[in-house]
């Protein structure tokens, strides 16, 4: 499970070009990590690729923080 959290954080670090220390679980992509709306779309795509899940648009709109992403993937990724 912690493996999922680490992989999510690595994607966020790579895509948003932010320091690893800032990517804590309750960090908001837009408010804390400097993402814009297009960045968040790209992030969701990266999560889909990494974890082999499909994240529908209505679910993607609710993934606003690192924790949101980890929770969604834990609940939906294939074991």
């Amino acid at each position: 499970m912690s493996d999922i959290a680490e992989r999510v954080k690595k994607i966020v670090v790579d895509h948003l070009g932010v320091e690893e220390s800032k990517v804590v679980e309750n960090a908001s992509f837009i408010d804390d990590l400097g993402a814009d709306s297009l960045d968040t779309v790209e992030l969701v795509m990266a999560f889909e690729e990494e974890f082999g899940v499909e994240i529908p648009d209505d679910a993607a709109e609710k993934i606003l923080s690192v924790k949101d992403a980890i929770d969604f993937i834990k609940a939906n990724a294939a074991a």
């Binding site: 895509h15 948003l16 070009g17 297009l38 779309v41 790209e42 795509m45």
Partner: protein, 420 residues
């Protein structure tokens, strides 16, 4: 009419990054043409190109210097090159607006002939292989031509006119001429203007090769491939890069003690109304563009010491341009130096007019005209014309004219004059 001068220069070309280094390499007869690297060219008819040298050595292009790795994913190379050239030109000019009004009086007009062709090619593959949900949200803004101007304005906070020219191989010249007019008309005091291109890709080379426009006979000797006016020329060599200048209203430049490289005195435009890619045989389009530029400048042909030719190294185009220059200049040909710097860097398409404008300005500043490389056996029509074969020449250049002609029959000529 308000007068417009050039106060900043910036460039990224196959000869490297930076206008000082470019000039040193250009006048020492260095070629930036190499065998194509970075993608498979084995099945392409033309395997040579003027590619921007990448790396961290002297004059190499290192994208990280200009844009963070995170943001590089949001832009195709034509935008990266434009940002780099603009950063140099703006720094060179020393213009850093301090007030909102100053920012609102500073605009950007950087165009491109083709824009994000490599990005569009990749996007099409993604669409076909993986479907629309895998298209990046940055695909469109990374490829849109006016996003070069957009990024430059965002990076520097320039809130004046934000515009982009798209006139194929005349783009860079039109952008500088049109931006100068925006200043003349008082729409802005300072304009960052130029052209950028990065279409050296499988789709770009394949497309131009399909038109039979590219050199194919020098794949084993790339440095010999671009040879304007030479009997053995067999098509243009595709190139990439960007040229950007800072244009400024004369009194504005004087007040802040800016270095003035030259004055933009002439700009002429015309259309061939003839063919989608071939120039009209009589050269009338180029002739009228040059004539209009001289008229606007209030100069006679005998006042022009140097012509930077469009001279792409195609069998037809070079002769037609030379014929037009001869008709316009008449007896003034005796004292004229005319060269094609595409012999050293290839044809930078939408960036060509801006890069060549900068070379023309440097010719004025340094009293040196750059050479036409590989001009070993000039065509008969070249007899008696000083095409500056192979070696640069020292001579005073009071004023220089730079020609750019594009597909669709679009022609632009710029005239720069020494600023005394």
């Amino acid at each position: 009419m308000r007068r417009v001068v050039v106060t900043g220069l910036g460039m990224v070309t196959p000869l490297g990054v930076g206008h000082t280094l470019n000039w040193e390499r250009l006048i020492s007869a260095t070629s930036g043409i190499r065998g194509i690297t970075g993608f498979d060219a084995s099945d392409l008819a033309s395997k040579v190109a003027g590619q921007v040298p990448r790396g961290t050595g002297e004059g190499d292009f290192d994208a990280d210097t200009f844009v963070s790795p995170k943001d590089q994913r949001k832009m195709d190379d034509f935008i990266l090159f434009a940002i780099a050239a603009a950063q140099e030109a703006i720094k060179d000019s020393g213009w850093i607006p301090q007030t909102d009004e100053e920012r609102e009086r500073t605009g950007v007009m950087v165009g491109s002939g083709i824009g994000g062709l490599p990005g569009i090619a990749d996007g099409a593959v993604t669409l076909n292989e993986k479907g629309p949900r895998r298209l990046s949200p940055f695909f469109i803004p990374a490829c849109l031509i006016n996003l070069a101007s957009g990024h430059i304005s965002i990076q520097h906070g320039f809130k004046g006119p934000n515009h982009a020219v798209v006139t194929a191989c005349s783009t860079g010249a039109h952008a500088i001429g049109d931006a100068a007019r925006l200043i003349m008309w008082d729409d802005a005091d300072v304009m960052v203007a130029g052209g950028t291109e990065a279409a050296v890709s499988r789709l770009g080379v394949g497309g131009f090769a399909a038109m039979r426009a590219l050199s194919t006979g020098f794949n084993d000797t790339p440095e010999k491939a671009s040879r304007p006016y030479d009997k053995d020329r067999d098509g243009f060599v595709i190139g990439e890069g960007a040229g950007v200048v800072v244009l400024e209203e004369l009194e504005h430049a004087k007040r802040r003690g800016a270095t003035i490289y030259a004055e933009v005195v002439g700009y002429g435009m015309s259309g061939d109304a003839h063919h989608i890619s071939a120039p009209a045989e009589d050269g009338n389009g180029g002739f009228r563009a040059m004539k209009a530029a001289l008229k606007r400048a209030g100069l006679n042909p005998s006042d022009i010491d140097y012509v930077n030719a469009h001279g792409t190294s195609t069998p037809l185009g070079d002769e037609i341009e030379l014929g037009a220059v001869k008709r316009l200049f008449g007896d003034a040909m005796d004292n004229l130096a005319m060269s094609s710097t595409k012999s050293a860097i290839g044809h930078l398409l939408g960036a060509a007019g801006a890069v060549e404008a900068i070379y023309s300005i440097k010719a004025i500043n340094h009293g040196i005209v750059p050479p036409t490389l590989n001009l070993e056996n000039p065509s008969e029509s070249c007899l008696g014309v000083n095409l500056v074969p192979k070696v640069a020449q020292e001579r005073r250049v009071r004023a220089a004219l730079s020609n750019s002609f594009g597909f669709g029959g679009t022609n632009a000529s710029l005239v720069f004059k020494e600023f005394a």
